[in-house]
């Protein structure tokens, strides 16, 4: 007889376990509230609608990269190539849409697929050639950085002739309301990614590979195939991020990608995704990305120099990873 006791008498274990599973997410959300409250008190310019949309707007690129990377990190992997990969995708977007003058929609799809192709190569290197993810994507990071410069001739590609392109980021879908399209794009892809992660086979195997790769393989699941799929899927988000950043700037800047990968990975970890795999959520990642962009925004408003912003962000990452370790000790 199965007894499913929701409120167990044994020290309330199920309830406790559920809370424990969500602890990192709750902590992250609480931190976000605290950070918000702090800046609201500290600066009169923080708590305004204009600034909220600015924060959301600046979350888009990191958020997009972080969503894809969430899948990779849940499998127990890592992707360091997302930052420079994004710059390469931005350049490719310029090549497709400006240089080759492809129709906008075709150029966008081609750019996203190009990101997927980079992810596919990462996945093949990791799953088939058994190169550790850290090394495989570090190499891809360099390859992408170099290719972005080579393809663009080290010069930015401007989308001046394509006003519709910048609208993807800065336009307002809802007329008369100041709510940038970029944020809507982020929300839409976050919902799609959330559904894929929690309700489909792709998500299920993403978790099970990160949780116990050997058991997953012994269950008859082709781990190599699914790892490649996860990296290729995450690559689509690199392509999308390339579009979002170049649409925001109105140009593809070949040298701007470096550093984004660490911010995106930080967002994923702050959001409660375990670097050792098996655990994580899209909601958590979004909260993590919001924490990073809110910190950047608030510290800027308070006129704290960029150097100190980096120091503070570094400390936040240390705290987030340390709580992850503490949680694992308890378990």
């Amino acid at each position: 007889m199965v007894t499913t006791r929701e409120k167990s008498g044994v020290a309330g274990r199920p309830v406790g376990a559920v809370v424990k599973g969500r602890l990192q997410q709750l902590l992250a959300f609480a931190s976000l509230i605290v950070i918000f409250a702090f800046f609201s008190v500290a600066s009169p310019f923080f708590f305004t609608y204009g600034n909220f949309t600015a924060i959301l707007f600046s979350t888009v690129v990191i958020g997009t990269l972080a969503i894809g990377t969430t899948f990779v990190i849940i499998t127990g992997g890592i992707d360091l190539s997302i930052g420079t990969g994004m710059a390469l995708c931005a350049v490719m977007s310029g090549v497709f849409i400006v240089n080759l003058d492809l129709p906008l929609a075709v150029g966008l799809v081609a750019t996203v697929l190009f990101g997927g192709l980079m992810g596919l190569v990462n996945g093949i290197n990791i799953a088939l050639l058994k190169i550790p993810p850290f090394i495989a994507t570090l190499a891809m990071m360099l390859v992408a950085e170099g290719l972005a410069l080579v393809v663009s001739g080290s010069a930015p590609i401007y989308f001046s002739e394509e006003p519709a392109y910048t609208k993807i980021s800065t336009g307002n879908l809802i007329p008369g309301v100041d709510f940038p399209n970029a944020v809507i794009v982020l929300i839409v892809v976050a919902v799609i990614a959330g559904v894929l992660l929690t309700k489909t086979v792709l998500g299920r195997y993403t978790y099970s590979i990160g949780s116990n790769e050997e058991a997953t393989a012994l269950s008859g699941i082709d781990v190599r195939k699914w790892k490649i799929a996860v990296y290729a899927f995450a690559g689509l988000f690199i392509g999308l991020a390339g579009i979002m950043i170049s649409a925001r700037l109105g140009s593809a800047q070949p040298a701007t990608g470096m550093g984004y990968e660490l911010q995106a990975i930080a967002a994923v970890v702050i959001g409660g995704t375990s670097l050792s795999g098996g655990k994580g959520s899209i909601v958590g990642t979004l909260i993590g990305a919001l924490i990073i962009s809110t910190l950047n925004n608030g510290l800027q408003i308070m006129s704290i120099p960029q150097e100190w912003q980096n120091v503070i962000l570094g400390c936040v990452i240390l705290v987030a990873v340390y709580t992850d370790i503490l949680r694992k000790k308890e378990a």
Binding site: M1, V2, T3, T4, R5, E6, S8, V10, R13, P14, A17, V18, K20, G21, L196, K199, T200, V201, L202, R204, Y207, S208, G210, S211, N212, E214, A215, T216, L218, S219, G220, I221, G278, K279, A331
Partner: protein, 255 residues
């Protein structure tokens, strides 16, 4: 109980480099019986089970299922024939809940287009999981938490259930009760008996001789890569088993 073996191994040989792990071993498991496979460390038990569950391929010899020769080139191929294995220690994904573990690699998809796109029918899987756990007598406090937060016995029960639910012919269990407490051990043994009563051939690897004598119908003893004895447990003592394992006694035809 059928007299003919459901799964039979004949003269299996397996080398690892210069080491001869199996030296022409024969073995049989019968439907509706628990067959214990015992032997000292290095006797070849694990290698034999790996060969019979598709994880390894023997260098020579033949494997018969229902009297027909079969080739088991992978665990998936073996599973396709109704042969399941409970692996020691690495059976489950601790971050997934019991239902997800039960259906790992065999997920039920939703009907229609969404299902084709990979959408899972979680409610149906949960419903069936609860029913299967009930049938096998696996009691869980909560089916919604990661399996890693359950007790060792519950986790192992789920691991055992996971294999037997899908086994239509043979289940191999490698030390399924190792590292379990007395009550938890009884629970897992109960599951084993229920599975046997459904007409499935259970092969149990164990170092625990009292446990072997209490749950097994027959015992096959390996020593240095060969079968050195077979017993029926009804007329066998602990001393017989130990004697056969250490080589003091040889009794090939007790059954």
């Amino acid at each position: 109980m059928s007299e003919q073996g459901l799964l039979e191994a004949r003269d299996l040989v397996k080398h690892y480099g210069s080491v001869e792990a199996l030296r022409g071993v024969s073995f049989e498991a019968r439907a509706g019986e628990v067959t214990a496979l015992i032997g000292d460390n290095g006797a070849g038990k694990s290698t034999l089970v790996k060969c019979l569950s598709g994880a390894e391929q023997p260098d020579s010899g033949s494997i018969l299922l229902d009297g027909r020769p079969v080739t088991l080139e992978s665990p998936t191929a073996a599973r396709g024939l109704g042969i399941e294995t409970v692996y020691q220690d690495l059976a489950v994904a601790p971050e997934l809940d019991p239902a997800a573990n039960l259906f790992l690699g065999r997920e039920i998809h939703r009907k229609g287009l969404l299902g084709k796109l990979g959408m899972l029918d979680k409610a149906e899987m949960r419903r069936r999981a609860v029913a299967e756990f009930a049938r096998l007598g696996v009691t869980l406090q909560n089916t919604d938490v990661p399996i890693g937060s359950l007790s060792g016995g519950q986790r192992q029960s789920v691991a055992v259930a996971r294999s037997v639910v899908w086994a239509s012919k043979v289940v191999f269990m490698d030390e399924p009760t190792a590292a379990l407490g007395v009550v938890q051990r009884e629970r897992v043994l109960d599951v084993i008996r229920r599975v046997r009563d459904e007409g499935i051939a259970v092969v149990l690897i164990s170092h625990n001789m009292p446990e072997v004598l209490s749950v097994a119908d027959r015992v096959e003893v390996l020593r240095l890569g060969e079968r050195v004895a077979s017993f029926t447990t009804t007329d066998t003592t602990l001393e017989d088993l130990v004697g056969a394992m250490t080589g003091a006694l040889t009794k090939e035809d007790a059954s």
